[in-house]
């Protein structure tokens, strides 16, 4: 009698276990089916792009807008410097760095940099006609604390990094001279460009090899002025 009871108890446990296992398998299957449904329903098919040509006028990326200076009547015959303005906003659109370029009558150009909607004057420089200053597309750091500008020196590119608030850096300098720091720390590398920011305080530097191919990439730390070679090419 005892043996029979034990036998029945074991069978009961076995039944319950089998039932639970079947329930679990059904649960897993139904969850999997949900994913399939999501994938099928939410990724609608789309016809291949039509072969019929369409005319799409290109919309250029931000370009300088010319602001003509009013001509006073008394100096109508004198040289009228042309002034152009360009600007670049931060990723979230809350900050702006602006560049005003004034063409002087002696062939030089004066470049004025301001940040935060023209309220903070940052930098001014007059350059000969074969040199220029520009604001790159990726000028702002992701946290909007820094920005950098580029000076085309005719023979190369100088990159200057500023605090957004216009304050000098810890070393007293108004800006960090990325190009100078880079040439000191990586004398054999051929600087190509500072492409943008990999993080809040890291500028990506691209280099090229002597044959023109893509060289090692570097990080430039702001404000510690560190130069770090990378295993990954950016």
């Amino acid at each position: 009698m005892m043996l029979l009871k034990k036998h029945i108890e074991l069978e009961a446990i076995l039944f319950i276990l089998v039932g639970a296992a079947v329930g679990y398998m059904m649960l897993v299957y139904s969850q999997h089916a949900k994913v399939q449904t999501l994938a099928v329903n939410n990724y609608p098919t789309f016809p291949v792009i039509g072969t019929a040509p369409t005319t799409i006028p290109p919309t250029p990326l931000p370009t300088p807008t010319a602001t003509p200076t009013p001509t006073p009547a008394l100096i109508a015959k004198s040289y009228i410097p042309s002034v152009s303005n360009t600007s670049q906003i931060s990723s979230d659109g809350t900050k702006t760095v602006s560049l005003r370029t004034i063409q002087n009558n002696n062939g030089t150009s004066t470049y004025d940099i301001t940040s935060s909607d023209n309220t903070t004057f940052m930098f001014s420089k007059t350059l000969p006609s074969n040199e220029s200053i520009s604001i790159p597309y990726n000028t702002w750091s992701p946290d909007n604390n820094y920005f950098f500008i580029q000076e085309n020196t005719g023979t190369g590119t100088d990159v200057m990094v500023f605090n957004d608030n216009g304050n000098p850096f810890a070393n007293g300098a108004q800006y960090l001279d990325l190009s100078s720091d880079f040439s000191k720390d990586a004398p054999n590398a051929i600087f190509d460009q500072a492409s943008g920011w990999a993080a809040d305080n890291l500028i990506v530097i691209l280099t090229k090899n002597a044959d023109g191919s893509e060289g090692t990439s570097y990080w430039y730390g702001v404000p510690d002025e560190s130069v770090t070679p990378l295993a990954t090419k950016f």
Binding site: F15, G23, Y24, N42, T45, I56, W197
Partner: protein
């Protein structure tokens, strides 16, 4: 004789009794299976379809966490605080006054640019960052989900990332999406794990412009007005 009859009766009773018991066990087992199925469903979530990395776990639902910090490229990043009341304000909608026609987004991987076309008009052209660690899928897709913000995580080792509050997300193929990026500003160069990164302002503008169902074509190269070159496009 009487003893034999009594034994038979006893045996028949035992048989009936054990069949009843088996039925009891059977229903007990059914009940146990039902309990496991229903209660387990509360704890076991559907696996998320995830294709841009072997270890990714993108959240395909809106997910805002204003207290979390993120990780990208081995660095800690601070996500922007997201206030849904502010997020619901639409920007000036692209092409609202001038354009008509079908909306179509083209991503040019060779120049790292995005073109938002409405009919024959380009209402937006901007730099993007496509896949660096994992490729962005080439093909023709549709936006199937729009999320104001969500969390994206994945990768491994030095390439691990965990990014809360990724803004203005529009998934176009599985969990590959167009979205704003607050953790880098290196657009025009590959920087993603397969998604298409944009400046936050650009992502916001295109989010307001595009709809669920808007066509997205990822091209190896795209020359306006009409030439989208796709090498081995994947089927949607």
């Amino acid at each position: 004789m009487a003893k034999k009859i009594k034994q038979r009766k006893k045996s028949a009773y035992r048989n009936t009794n054990s069949v009843g018991r088996y039925l009891q066990f059977y229903f007990l087992a059914l009940f146990a299976g039902f309990i496991v199925y229903t209660v387990g469903g509360l704890f076991i979530q559907s696996p998320i379809p995830c294709a841009n990395s072997g270890t990714c776990s993108s959240d395909l639902t809106m997910n805002i966490d204003n207290s979390a910090t993120g990780t990208f490229n081995g660095h800690t990043v601070t996500p922007p605080k997201i206030n849904l009341a502010d997020m619901n304000n639409t920007t000036n909608v692209l092409g609202a006054s001038t354009s008509a026609g079908e909306k179509h987004i083209y991503v040019d991987l060779s120049t790292q640019r995005l073109y938002a076309m409405q009919g024959d008009t380009a209402v937006m052209e901007t730099f993007i960052s496509s896949g660096k660690w994992d490729p962005t899928p080439v093909g023709n897709f549709h936006i199937w989900e729009k999320l104001v913000a969500t969390r994206m995580a994945g990768g491994s080792g030095d390439d691990a990332y965990d990014l809360p509050n990724v803004p203005w997300v529009m998934y176009f193929y599985q969990d590959f999406g167009l979205h704003g990026a607050y953790w880098h500003n290196n657009f025009g160069h590959t920087m993603s794990h397969g998604c298409v990164n944009m400046r936050i302002v650009d992502a916001h503008a295109i989010y307001d412009w595009a709809d669920v169902g808007t066509a997205v074509s990822v091209c190896n190269s795209f020359s306006p007005p009409d030439n989208c070159v796709q090498n081995n496009p994947i089927s949607d």
